[in-house]
């Protein structure tokens, strides 16, 4: 925790504002339950990039509405809980603002009807969840967990974007509703496999499926209200939501089932078994979240109507009990000082409200009648009866759910009272217990009257996913069915497992070090990226300026040769042919260059450099550029003078050792320049501007020297700018020279 004081004297008044807003939004959304159940889907859109067909489009069908209600409804309770939990914490404002941003992103994500809009909000949840997981940013583990969650879900987000773009290209629209109505367009497309894989990568990273699952338990570094929100109703459900959303477009193939069902089943068993190993109840709940999400993935992968109905029911079931249990764990921690179930016991008498909420939600998690969880579990068994392997996976998972429910809902409250140093355990303030009790109430209400949830929420959700009306109604009692038998087996084995929990846990703990760590691939990849980045930097940025110069000139050579090779090449005519004087001038220039290169005398080199400039000045004189020639000669004299002055103060450079690599680069570049110039000379000259200046110099500018008129009149401002550049260069040079004179810093004097 922070070293400095993070508490404030009185809780701020505004702390309930987000909760009130979210509650109002829930009520407003609830008005749509009737119309949506009747098949009316409100739409709303704003043009965004019309030329690309992208719109800020939203559509409220059964799935979107149910998710939106969960986000706002549970959000209201979580905001209230957070406002009480962090009542006097200075960071409350930050937390509530970030949570609100997160809730809005989530809301936009589930309501979006445009692939790009959806992606925008998807990334919004990634970034805000990073901030929320790393909320205790002064703790190292929190930062590491936040970065891990960001990297994994962020990478998945990139894959998702690619997948959505491929889908948009194939369908010719970015509207999700149109994609879903497009029939077999995607399934028959040649790009079906890549686009499915890309989308699944996004969904699996977000919803923490194997092999990306490890970020989710790590994200428990977040404060309790955040974990309750992110891992029950929202963030991690986004991937599952998208799978359900795209089922009509992408689902139903062998590849779909073949990927979703095994991944879901493996994650499900992994999550539920490792949940039994934890002693920290929050971590245990995080592991069971893996189980809940992967059950949804598996059911969506199965894709039958029964499986979809089971998935949608379990989505609600899970949201209610998981949020409530996370919150009760937070209350136990507040009330009794620990969230390790070995350290707390017998709290039922002191914390009756907490115990009630935990008991109801725990029973729902374990799937006991008459709670909503029982309805969900029966549907899961019904949907998985199709194959022995999936039935077994569901049985194992549910069995561990019974065990874990006992751990979190019974162990802390019964037996002899045991608690951490805290003096007086007790039920916390109303803002804390209201949420879990309301959520437990829903678990109970929908268990007793499943048709209520079935008709208003689940049937429209199923209709949105399958595209057809759901057959039948949800019921608590189905008679003597195979599902009931499986339930009874689950209960019997689960209770036995709960009684043997300590031995089971210790066995798992003992086996743990011998098992391969799943996150090793992530850590290896991360370390590999850093190593690669370091070696690339070391190779390209080695701090040697000659190295950079070589790279620059080599790039210039490649560019000029690229232009020569790829462009049109025509040899220019030899007009006017070179006369004797031309030969002589060129010979002077070339000889001077050679002298500069080979001489060891500085004075000779300076003179030869002057020779180069003067030779060029003669070329200017010969071909009608009198002004240029005058300037060139004048500048050349100054260059020689300045160089000579500088040479007196600078060391002799001695011999320049021959460097074959440099020579190669230089020769190739020089050849490229020559060829490029010839290529330009081979193309016809466009005399438009020259003719313009010739025709207008006298009439418009009143000057007879066209070159001068161009400089001081037609392009006067340009010349002004260049003059300022010269002035600035002069000032800078003076500054450098004066500074040099002031501080010699013991540098070698000549």
């Amino acid at each position: 925790m922070a070293d400095h004081d993070t508490t404030r004297a009185a809780p701020p008044v505004w702390r309930f504002l987000p909760a009130i807003v979210a509650a109002a939004a829930t009520l407003w959304l609830a008005r749509f339950l009737g119309p949506v159940a009747a098949g009316v889907h409100p739409e709303w859109s704003l043009p965004w990039a019309p030329s690309l067909g992208i719109a800020f489009a939203f559509r409220l069908d059964g799935l979107a509405l149910a998710m939106a209600l969960l986000i706002c409804g549970i959000g209201a309770l979580i905001f209230l809980y957070a406002a009480t939990y962090f009542a006097t914490d200075r960071r409350l404002g930050t937390l509530l603002v970030t949570l609100s941003f997160f809730a809005v992103s989530m809301l936009g994500l589930v309501c979006a009807d445009d692939a790009i809009t959806l992606f925008l909000f998807w990334e919004g949840t990634t970034i805000t969840s990073w901030l929320l997981v790393g909320f205790d940013h002064e703790r190292r583990e929190a930062r590491a967990a936040a970065v891990q969650a960001l990297l994994i879900t962020g990478a998945g987000g990139l894959a998702l974007l690619a997948g959505l773009l491929v889908m948009s290209a194939v369908a010719g629209t970015t509207r999700l509703s149109e994609m879903n109505a497009a029939g077999d367009v995607f399934r028959q497309s040649a790009a079906y496999a890549p686009m499915l894989l890309l989308v699944l990568l996004g969904c699996f990273t977000k919803s923490a499926q194997v092999p990306f699952h490890f970020w989710l338990p790590g994200a428990m570094a977040a404060p309790t209200p955040v974990s309750a929100y992110l891992h029950s109703a929202t963030m991690v459900k986004a991937g599952v939501y998208l799978l359900a959303r795209l089922t009509p477009a992408l689902g139903g193939t062998e590849l779909w089932t073949g990927l979703l069902v095994p991944v879901g089943a493996v994650t499900m068993i992994l999550g539920s078994v490792w949940a039994a190993r934890q002693t920290d109840m929050k971590l245990m709940l995080a592991q069971t979240t893996l189980m809940g999400l992967s059950a949804l993935v598996m059911l969506i992968g199965l894709g039958t109507e029964a499986a979809i109905a089971a998935a949608m029911t379990f989505l609600l079931v899970h949201a209610f009990y998981k949020a409530a249990l996370f919150l009760t764990v937070g209350m136990i921690e507040k009330g009794a000082g620990s969230r390790d179930y070995r350290h707390v016991a017998g709290l039922a008498r002191a914390m009756p409200l907490t115990a009630t909420a935990a008991a109801i939600s725990g029973l729902s998690m374990a799937g006991f009648p008459p709670l909503f969880g029982f309805v969900g579990k029966e549907l899961i068994y019904e949907a998985t009866l199709t194959g022995a392997a999936v039935t077994l996976a569901a049985l194992v998972a549910n069995l561990f759910m019974v065990i874990c429910a006992g751990m979190v809902a019974i162990r802390p409250f019964h037996g002899a009272e045991r608690r951490s140093p805290k003096d007086r355990p007790g039920d916390p303030a109303w803002g804390l217990w209201l949420g879990p009790l309301v959520l437990s109430g829903f678990s109970l209400l929908f268990g007793l009257a499943p048709a209520l949830a079935g008709d208003w929420l689940i049937a429209p959700m199923v209709a949105a996913v399958t595209g057809e009306e759901m057959h039948g109604h949800l019921a608590l009692w189905h008679g003597l069915t195979p599902m009931l038998v499986l339930s009874l087996v689950t209960f019997a084995l689960g209770i036995l497992g709960y009684l043997a929990l300590d031995r089971l846990r210790d066995g798992l703990a003992k086996a743990e070090p011998g098992l391969p760590r799943m996150e090793s691939w992530y850590e290896g990849a991360l370390a590999g990226i850093f190593t690669l980045a370091r070696s690339v930097t070391a190779a390209s940025q080695n701090g040697q300026m000659t190295h950079y110069l070589r790279a620059t000139f080599a790039a210039c050579a490649v560019l000029t040769w690229g232009g020569v090779v790829l462009g049109r090449m025509a040899w220019p005519g030899f007009t006017p042919g070179p006369g004797l004087i031309d030969w002589m001038v060129v010979a002077i220039i070339l000889a001077s260059v050679a002298v500069v290169l080979v001489t060891r005398s500085r004075l000779t080199a300076i003179c030869a450099l002057g020779g180069v400039g003067s030779g060029i000045a003669i070329v200017f004189v010969l071909y009608g550029a009198i002004d240029v020639a005058m300037t060139q000669l004048f500048v050349e004299i100054l260059v020689v003078v300045f160089m000579a002055i500088a040479m007196v103060r600078l060391p002799s450079w001695g011999e320049i050792p021959f460097h074959p690599g440099n020579a190669l680069i230089a020769v190739v570049l020089g050849l490229g320049v020559t060829l490029g110039t010839l290529a330009v000379l081979g193309t016809p000259l466009d005399p438009y501007l020259t003719t313009f200046f010739e025709a207008n110099s006298v009439p418009k500018a009143g000057g007879h020297n066209i070159v001068n008129v161009i400089l001081v009149d037609f392009r006067g401002f340009d010349t002004l700018g260049e003059t300022s550049v010269i002035v600035i260069a002069g000032i800078a040079a003076i500054a450098a020279l004066r500074a040099g004179r002031r501080r010699l810093r013991g540098a070698p004097r000549r």
Binding site: Q544, P572, G613, T677, I726
Partner: protein
Amino acid sequence: MEVMLALTAGVLVAAGAYLMMTGKTVPYVFGLTMISNAANLIIFSTGRLTLAKPALVPGEAITISGAANALPQALILTAIVIGFGLLVFALALAYRSYYALGTAEMDEMRVAEPVERD
């Protein structure tokens, strides 16, 4: 003559680039001068050459034709001056860096990117 000038420009660029890559400050400035001269030559020759007919409109005339191309000349004129400014600044820097860092070898100037020690 244009072809010969193109060849000369190529030689100047090659020699200039080679001098700049030697990693000594003074040859670097020499190379810089050569490359700016080469650039001027290229602009001049690609504007086509006209023998001994400056772009001057005679006394009473309004316009001329067949004179040397005035546009590249105007460009080169400013380029020469700017190139000179650049040269002066580069020379000042060479002087300053020698006295501040005690070396005229560019590869030994490692203040901005010091040698990494593992």
